[in-house]
Amino acid sequence: MNQISETKDFPVSASSLKEVRAFSRDVFEKIDLPQEQKDELVLAIAEAAQNIVKHGYKGVEETEDRMEIKISLKDGQLEIGFFDKGKTVVPENVQHRKLDDIKPGGLGTFFIKQIMDAAVFKKDQKGWVNHLVLTKKI
């Protein structure tokens, strides 16, 4: 399939991450890609969703907010959008830890950067607080 655009929203909760992966896997089933690459893309999406739950809602015990994920493919360009209403992300502050500084945490953003070509916070949120776009030529 050369063109695809699928969107789904999820409760902002760690328990949603399984659903996020299931949604992503369903979408990638429709795209002709090696399984290994599909697995990497699912990981990147799950890490970005996890960042919303973990950092965007840090200190928030429970919320009724939802986050939205949109996976689009057009002309070989995969674009994954994440919309949330958590704390405003300052892109300059989003950094992964140094790999030789071995400690738990701080790897999610590193994985995203390893897997995707680009990760950009856009300013076209339209009712959302943050809009992260991950892209990759496939």
């Binding site: 760690a14 996890q50 071995i102 994985f111």
Partner: protein, 99 residues
């Protein structure tokens, strides 16, 4: 995630199962860390773990570091191909004891 723990002498083997993400890392740590705290050598068997994200990797790092602190060791065993790829992406294959 489900898990099973077997004991043989001073070695506890924790068999984890399923997908390891942020939602279950607290549970995994609750199972693994007290074993290390008690001075056991802990083997974490991942043959039935099909997916692990950065949260799961953090559990492995924390377990490894706790073991060093307690002068015991953690060995990560039977890592599936997909999980090994994530460990290698984090460049931890030389840090963690993999078997």
């Amino acid at each position: 995630m489900t898990y099973k723990v077997t004991e043989e002498g001073n070695i506890s083997t924790v068999f984890l199962n399923g997908e390891i993400d942020m939602d279950i890392t607290d549970k995994a740590k609750e199972v693994i860390l007290p074993l290390i705290e008690s001075g056991k050598e802990v083997h974490i068997n991942l043959k039935d773990v099909s997916y692990m994200d950065s949260s799961g990797i953090s559990v492995l790092i924390e377990s490894h570091q706790k073991a060093l602190e307690k002068k015991t060791k953690v060995i990560v065993k039977e890592v599936s191909k997909s999980v090994l790829k994530v460990i290698m992406m984090a460049k931890l294959e030389q840090i963690l004891n993999l078997e």
